[in-house]
C-alpha cells in the first residue's frame, strides 16, 4: 500500500478534473461527435480511478474493471456513431437537438 509513489489523492483530483471537463463538454456542445468525445473522456476518467485504486491496494481488480469499461466504451461508441450517420443523413447537420425528431 505504501509502495505507490504517486499520491493517490492527486490521481483522484486529476480524474475529477477530467470528468468535469467531459461533463461540461457534454452539456455545452450540441455537435453529436463532440458529445460522443465527451462521453469517452468521462468513461476514461472513471477507468483512471479504477486503475489507480487497483494500484493503491495492489490488487488486479481495478484493471479487470478497466477492461469492462473498455468493452462498454467500444459498444457505446459503435452504436453512437451509427446514430451520427443517421442524423447526418436525415437532417444534413450534426445538431443533437434534431435527434428528438428521429423516429423508426
Amino acid at each position: 500500500m505504501d509502495g505507490l509513489q504517486i499520491p493517490f489523492e492527486h490521481v483522484l483530483v486529476l480524474a475529477t478534473l477530467l470528468f468535469t471537463a467531459g461533463l461540461v463538454g457534454l452539456m455545452v456542445r450540441r455537435n453529436i461527435i463532440f458529445i460522443l468525445m465527451s462521453l469517452e473522456v468521462m468513461l476514461n476518467s472513471a477507468a483512471l480511478v479504477f486503475v489507480a485504486a487497483g494500484a493503491y491496494w495492489g490488487q488486479a481488480d481495478g484493471q479487470v474493471v478497466f477492461l469492462l469499461i473498455l468493452a462498454v466504451a467500444a459498444a457505446e461508441v459503435s452504436v453512437g456513431l451509427g446514430l451520427v450517420l443517421q442524423v447526418q443523413r436525415r437532417f444534413r447537420n450534426l445538431d443533437m437537438d434534431n435527434a428528438n425528431r428521429l423516429r423508426g
Binding site: G62, F66, A74
Partner: protein, 171 residues
C-alpha cells in the same frame, strides 16, 4: 522524480482534453483527444499497470479513435473535401499535439530505462489480471461479451439502413 513525471503527464492530459472539447473542427479535436488518451496511458504505466496502458493505446487510441476518424471522413465527402484535407494538414494544426506527444515519449523512455526502480512493489502484472479476470470475474466476462454482441447488432441495424438508402437513392 516519479511525481514530476506524473504531474507532467497529468498536465498534458488536462490541457489536451480541454483543447479537444473546445475545438470547432472535429479532426483537430480528435488529434488532441488521442494525445489525452496517450497521456492517460502513460499515467497507467506510472501507476504500475502496464497491461492497462497497452490496452488504452491499442483499443482507445487505436480502434475507437479510428472509428471516429472513419465517420468524420465519411461525413465530409464532397467537392470541398480536398480543400478541407489540405487545411487539416497545415503544420500549425499538428505542431502543439506533436510537441505534447514528444513529451510523453520522452517520459516513457525515461521510465523504460529504469523501469524496475519506478514501479517496484506496486506493479500488477498482466498474469495477475488474467487470473483474476477468468477466475472470480468470469461472469462479468460473459456479460461483457453479451454487451458487445448487443453493440454489434445495434450498430449493424442502424448502419445498414444508412448504406441501403443512400446507395439506392443516389445511383
Amino acid at each position: 522524480m516519479m511525481e514530476s513525471l506524473f504531474y507532467i503527464a497529468a498536465f498534458v492530459a488536462l490541457f489536451s482534453t480541454l483543447q479537444a472539447l473546445s475545438r470547432s473542427n472535429a479532426i483537430h479535436a480528435l488529434i488532441y483527444l488521442i494525445i489525452s488518451l496517450l497521456a492517460v496511458a502513460v499515467i497507467f504505466f506510472l501507476l504500475g499497470a502496464p497491461f492497462a496502458a497497452a490496452l488504452e493505446i491499442v483499443i482507445y487510441a487505436g480502434a475507437i479513435m479510428v472509428l471516429f476518424v472513419f465517420v468524420i471522413m465519411m461525413l465530409n465527402l464532397g467537392e470541398a473535401g480536398d480543400l478541407r484535407e489540405r487545411q487539416w494538414l497545415q503544420p500549425r494544426v499538428w505542431f502543439i499535439p506533436a510537441i505534447l506527444a514528444a513529451v510523453l515519449l520522452a517520459e516513457l523512455l525515461i521510465v523504460e530505462a529504469e523501469v524496475a526502480a519506478y514501479t517496484r512493489g506496486v506493479e500488477v502484472s498482466p498474469k495477475e489480471v488474467g487470473l483474476t479476470l477468468f477466475g472470480p470475474y468470469v461472469l462479468a466476462v460473459e456479460l461483457a461479451s453479451m454487451l458487445l454482441l448487443a453493440g454489434l447488432v445495434g450498430a449493424y441495424h442502424v448502419g445498414r439502413r444508412f448504406i441501403d438508402r443512400t446507395g439506392g437513392g443516389e445511383r
